[in-house]
């Protein structure tokens, strides 16, 4: 009986030892990789927009997953929703890489939900436009794609649009839309109207007065580019300021549309990518950012009319180039507004907007 008991204890001991050895071997294998993929099996959480998701999957996410054997978890939403989520989870962050635009990237830096990147880990950084390398200062973000806010119009329905002043034309009553104040480009509309009517971007009281005058002419104000697409395809809207990354889809509607560089120029901005504060996968996060900046990804995104390249070495065919934020002539027309200033006035401007739109 005693012999049986001892044998039983020995078997249990050996089993436990075997399990421990197997588990530690597995852990080591996961950490170092078994086939030259040091991050194989890991997950990386990206906070990003969901617009053109099928193309983003094809051009960015899938190639990265296949190259490094990792699983990308995507958290989509507009700037404000994702920003708020990250702030709410500040003490227990889940996001490894965050993509924000304009003043939202500044607010993310200010709020401490993103952290500086290490330039030495981004091999593609040197290939970017100078002002894309560190748009916020302090290496908090990289501008991975350049965009602009332009004006489009239906060539079969309205006369040519050449200036932001044209938005006040009588014929545009009931067929006009502008981006809402909480969107990336919402505040830029105020600046552009100020420039158009007062000759000065900073004469924003004039811009606001014009917003008030335009309000009755608006079908609605859109809060997502996908909303603008619906408005265009349903033929509700003939003229609107549009984000360049949506131009491919607008063209896809098959309607006769044209985009213009207005007299006042275009609003330029970078979509920015940052490392999530508190990430435990900093190296992998840097790899993802570097992948986003790589030649192949930037070229594929441009060819699909999703994102205009922030790299300077991308040569695009003319038929593609004309639909993107690309080329010296167009780039020279871009005005970049101060992110901090936009973040500082946000609350006041939203209240001002609501006052106009609630009456």
């Amino acid at each position: 009986m005693r012999k049986t008991r001892n044998l039983f204890v020995l078997v249990i001991f050996l089993l436990t030892l075997g399990t421990q050895l197997f588990a530690s071997a597995e852990k080591e294998s996961a950490a170092t990789g078994t086939d030259g993929m040091p991050y194989k099996g890991q997950e990386l959480t990206i906070s990003m927009w969901g617009y053109n998701m099928d193309l983003l999957e094809k051009n960015i996410i899938k190639p990265f997953e296949e190259k490094y054997g990792v699983k990308i978890i995507v958290e989509t939403g507009n700037n404000s929703a994702r920003f708020t989520k990250m702030v709410a989870r500040k003490d227990n962050p889940l996001v490894d890489v965050a993509l924000f635009a304009g003043s939202w990237a500044y607010k993310a830096m200010d709020e401490g939900i993103i952290k500086p990147y290490d330039p030495s880990k981004l091999t593609n950084l040197s290939a970017l436009m100078e002002n894309a390398k560190d748009p916020l200062g302090g290496n908090y973000a990289v501008g991975y794609t350049i965009q602009h806010l332009g004006l489009f119009y239906r060539t079969d329905k309205v006369a040519e649009i050449t200036s932001w002043r044209d938005l006040s034309r009588d014929e545009l009553k009931g067929v006009l839309s502008i981006p809402g104040i909480t969107t990336t480009y919402g505040p830029s509309v105020v600046y552009m109207l100020s420039k158009a009517w007062a000759g000065d971007f900073n004469a924003t009281d004039v811009g606001w007065q014009k917003i008030e005058e335009l309000e009755p002419s608006l079908v609605t104000a859109y809060n997502r580019s996908s909303e603008l697409n619906t408005l265009i395809s349903q033929e509700e809207v003939y003229v609107a300021p549009y984000s360049s990354f949506a131009w491919g889809t607008i063209l896809g509607s098959g309607l006769p549309v044209a985009n213009v560089i207005p007299e006042e120029g275009l609003v330029g901005s970078f979509s920015m990518v940052s490392i999530g504060a508190g990430t435990k996968k900093e190296d992998l996060a840097h790899l993802y950012i570097d992948h986003l900046l790589s030649y192949d990804v930037q070229m594929a995104e441009a060819l699909d009319l999703v994102d205009s390249p922030a790299r300077t070495d991308i040569d695009l065919p003319p038929e593609i180039a004309v639909n993107l934020t690309y080329g010296d002539e167009l780039l020279s027309q871009l005005h970049f507004f101060d992110h901090k200033e936009m973040a500082d006035v946000q609350e006041e401007w939203i209240a001002r907007w609501n006052k106009i739109f609630s009456n």
Partner: protein
């Protein structure tokens, strides 16, 4: 002993539901309440309520939301009551078919249902095309991005709930009661208003409360059909919470929504026919 056993079983059956409600409903509700009364330097304060209630923009949005809910709810009652009465009088097979038709929209995503309205109410949508081709309108009318569009969308969203609630309540009214009223000389209309309606009044209160609460708190339908030009309480609350990060302001709006519903619910109970109290 049997009674004791029954009591224990009863409590055990209730327990999972009660625990679920405490964790996922009561606790967040208490948190929202506490947050709304939190002063800038701690302690209890009404300052946030004063700030929100004195804001003319909030008052405008509150009145607009209330107005739309007060339009949607009576229409749902007027359309729902005869429909529910008709359904309860059908044979079992026919009733099943009609109930399936009532439930069918509830099985579709509210987003998909709301987007369908864009096709119907759009500038070149079905309604505008019909009216212009019949010569009733010369130009397409603005139907989308209006209060009217939201009201239509909310009505479609909540009418099935009203009908379902009323059908459940009317099924409890025995046929003999109705027959007795008719045999005692009451007309069909009199029987409906003096017998059926009072006996199904609890269902009506529940239906009205659900439709009213749904109309006041709906987000997707007002956001899509109303757009940025027609702010409602829920779209305003989203803006406070997700854009301005003003959680305290958002909690005050949430509490005001809850209070409004409670006032309606208890107010309606006062109108309950006395004979049944």
């Amino acid at each position: 002993m049997n009674r004791f056993h029954f009591k224990n079983t009863f409590i055990l059956l209730l327990l999972p539901g009660i625990i679920f409600l405490i964790i996922f409903f009561l606790s967040p509700l208490i948190f929202v309440l506490m947050e709304s009364f939190k002063g800038a330097e701690g302690g209890i304060s009404f300052i946030r309520y004063r700030e929100v209630l004195s804001d003319p923009q909030f008052r405008f949005v509150f009145i607009r939301t209330l107005k739309m809910a007060l339009i949607v709810t009576p229409i749902a009652v007027l359309v729902g009551y005869p429909s529910a009465y008709f359904i309860t009088k059908l044979s079992s097979a026919k009733k099943s078919i009609l109930m399936s038709l009532v439930i069918l929209p509830l099985m579709t995503s509210p987003v998909a249902r709301t987007y369908a309205w864009i096709v119907i109410l759009g500038k070149y949508g079905i309604i505008n095309q019909s009216l212009t081709s019949l010569g009733i309108l010369r130009e397409p009318a603005r139907l989308m991005y209006t209060e009217g569009a939201i009201i239509v969308g909310l009505l479609q969203l909540f009418l099935p709930i009203m009908i379902l609630t009323l059908v459940s309540a009317m099924e409890n009214v025995q046929d003999e009661v109705e027959e007795a009223a008719l045999s005692l000389g009451s007309g069909k209309a009199g029987c409906f208003f003096r017998v059926i309606v009072p006996l199904s009044f609890d269902g009506l209160i529940l239906g009205v409360t659900l439709v009213f609460t749904g109309s006041i708190t709906a987000y997707v339908t007002p956001a899509i059909l109303g757009g940025a030009k027609v702010l409602t309480l829920s779209t305003l609350m989203r803006q406070e919470a997700l854009v301005l990060m003003n959680w305290e302001g958002a909690t005050v709006i949430a509490v005001i929504m809850i209070l409004t519903t409670l006032v309606l619910y208890n107010g309606l109970r006062l109108f309950k026919p006395r004979t049944l109290v």
